[in-house]
């Protein structure tokens, strides 16, 4: 990616993620994240030039929420922009903030993603994404059993189901270390068989235990030009690159599987233009938008450009655990916390916190020099970020 100037992440704020936040309205909940991000950056709203705001369309039945959220965002008198690209919104907000600072238009940009899923009707909103003529009467909202079916066909039911449940239990172990995570269930590996048998079936082999939560929450991030970032922060998380790919594919209704996924497409492009030949060795951490245990498991293969069953072996061996050689989602991921308009931003934010050394109880035990973060949405949309520390950038220079 050609940049006019470098951009660093210097502040991250997150509300607690929860199933219910009756005690705060939307701007009040957003304000919690904004205050925390400003505190981490050590600035006030006076130093913020522009506010970028986004969430899912229709989910709370609020039109132009950026306008009346000004009470909590601090955007009064600032330039501002609303971004809404479905599930990828949070990552697109980070991309937009990066563009605004890298271009030289603004020195400091505050990006805010939020959702209060308990206030609306998620599946009602998502269902209306489908084509009114070909798909709207024939789909199941965000829930799909397609990936489970494909993995069972490829690897056999016993191994595929066991790996999906192992992924789920590993993610819960991470969430237990993150006090802001929504679902912290305390699952144990010896519960795998019981969960597989007793968790309510949703679609095909996708069960309730595999699926992400529906959360209320907000995330705020502060992006600064290199000059500003160095003044504000001892270790900013530098935005090295990001790639976005969107596709309307109706889940193979019109095409024949297998198709090149947008995940693999983005990963190939990102790695090629950043000289990454062996992502598992050259990248220290991956915060992945994993809407279900099946997708998290399957998408490891796509994002890491793996073949065969290597992704299953990464889960079976514990390589993706916090102490493994390629940690995935120390935050607990999307399965633990899913305030959708914030969710993809939380991936970038958590990757940044790991680089900044500010992740608290779920900070990785070794330094994070280079991190990946992904957003997912639509029928198959991807935003893929590459972040780096000063150490990494000096080594590359």
């Amino acid at each position: 990616m050609k940049k006019n100037r470098n951009v660093g992440i210097v502040g991250v704020g997150q509300s607690v993620y929860s199933s219910h936040r009756e005690e705060v309205n939307q701007p009040e909940m957003i304000h919690e994240a904004v205050v925390e991000a400003l505190e981490m950056a050590g600035i006030t709203m006076a130093e913020v030039d522009c506010v970028v705001h986004g969430n899912m369309e229709l989910f709370e039945m609020v039109h132009q929420p950026d306008l009346w959220h000004t009470l909590g965002t601090g955007a009064w008198g600032k330039e501002s922009l609303r971004v809404t690209t479905g599930g990828t919104t949070g990552a697109t907000l980070a991309a937009a903030a990066d563009h605004l600072v890298a271009s030289g238009l603004h020195d400091v940009v505050l990006a805010i993603g939020f959702e209060k899923l308990q206030e609306g009707h998620t599946t009602g909103g998502i269902t209306n994404m489908a084509d009114p003529l070909w798909g709207r009467q024939l789909q199941t909202g965000a829930l799909t059993g397609m990936t489970a079916a494909q993995m069972i066909e490829e690897f056999g039911a016993e191994r595929a189901k066991a790996a999906a449940m192992a992924y789920r239990i590993l993610m819960d172990a991470n969430a237990m270390k993150n006090p802001k995570a929504h679902r912290r269930l305390g699952l144990r590996p010896d519960q795998a068989e019981e969960l597989a048998a007793n968790s309510p079936a949703l679609v095909g082999e996708l069960r309730m235990i595999h699926m992400c939560s529906q959360s209320d929450g907000a995330c705020a991030m502060i992006f600064a030009s290199e000059e500003k970032a160095r003044q504000l922060c001892a270790q900013p998380a530098w935005i090295e690159d990001h790639v976005t790919a969107h596709r309307e594919e109706m889940f193979c209704l019109f095409g024949n599987a297998p198709v090149l996924t947008t995940h693999r497409h983005c990963a190939r492009k990102l790695f090629a233009r950043n000289g990454i030949r062996d992502p598992r060795r050259e990248i220290d951490l991956f915060e992945m938008y994993d809407p279900s245990a099946w997708w998290g498991l399957d998408w490891l293969r796509e994002f890491l450009l793996l073949e065969g069953d290597e992704h299953l072996r990464m889960v079976e061996s514990g390589a993706i655990a916090m102490d493994g050689d390629f940690p995935v989602n120390p935050s607990g991921g999307v399965i633990a916390s899913n305030p959708i308009g914030a969710t993809a931003m939380v991936r970038v934010a958590e990757a940044a916190l790991q680089i900044m050394g500010r992740a608290g109880g779920h900070q990785l035990p070794r330094p994070v020099r280079r991190a990946l973060a992904s957003g997912f949405g639509g029928t198959m949309w991807t935003v893929l970020f590459l972040l780096a520390s000063d150490t990494e950038r000096q080594a590359a220079a």
Binding site: E23, N25, E28, M61, G74, E119, G120
Partner: protein, 167 residues
């Protein structure tokens, strides 16, 4: 250039979006509604930094970011019409028979105007500067319509007589 498309055998697909929601009022909004419902009192918050009383209340001052959670003051129930408009077309989203008067009313003690409806008078007689007061709904409601409408403090020429309670 005149467009003359061939519309024979072109389908249109009717549909309907149904999006139920439940808005969480939050602690500040809830206190405001409870005071309206149970005590017929109208509350605002006062930002010391901006020396401003804000109605409806909010948790944070949008200008200076001050925390306003415990700065309650009582305002009204009388106030002044700062501006108004007359709705003269009927549609599904218009809750009342037309003509309907919507007004910005600055309550006594407040610095910001509140949007509400005016009743009990001829729409043609409404003027900026008119003194009005709140008429509370007989039954409790979960919204700002705990105040059913505002009416003139002094008798005014009335075309329709006292306004019936709406909702």
């Amino acid at each position: 250039m005149e467009l003359t498309p061939d519309l024979r055998d072109c389908f249109t697909v009717p549909g309907k979006l149904a999006l139920p929601y439940t808005y969480f009022a939050g602690r500040i909004g809830s206190r405001f509604l409870l005071a309206l419902q149970e005590e017929h009192r109208i509350l605002g918050v006062r930002c010391a930094g901006c020396a401003t009383v804000l109605v409806p209340p909010r948790a944070t001052c949008d200008r200076c970011q001050a925390d306003l959670a415990d700065t309650w003051v009582e305002v009204g129930p009388a106030g002044r019409v700062e501006n108004f408009t007359v709705v003269r077309y009927a549609d599904r989203h218009v809750p009342e028979p037309v003509p309907l008067v919507l007004a910005l009313i600055r309550l006594d003690g407040a610095d910001t105007p509140l949007v509400h409806r005016l009743g009990g008078m001829d729409p043609e007689a409404v003027r900026v500067g008119l003194r009005v007061t709140a008429v509370f709904a007989a039954e409790p409601r979960d919204t700002l319509l705990c105040i059913d409408h505002f009416r003139p403090l002094a008798p005014q020429p009335s075309a329709a007589g006292p306004r019936p309670q709406g909702g």
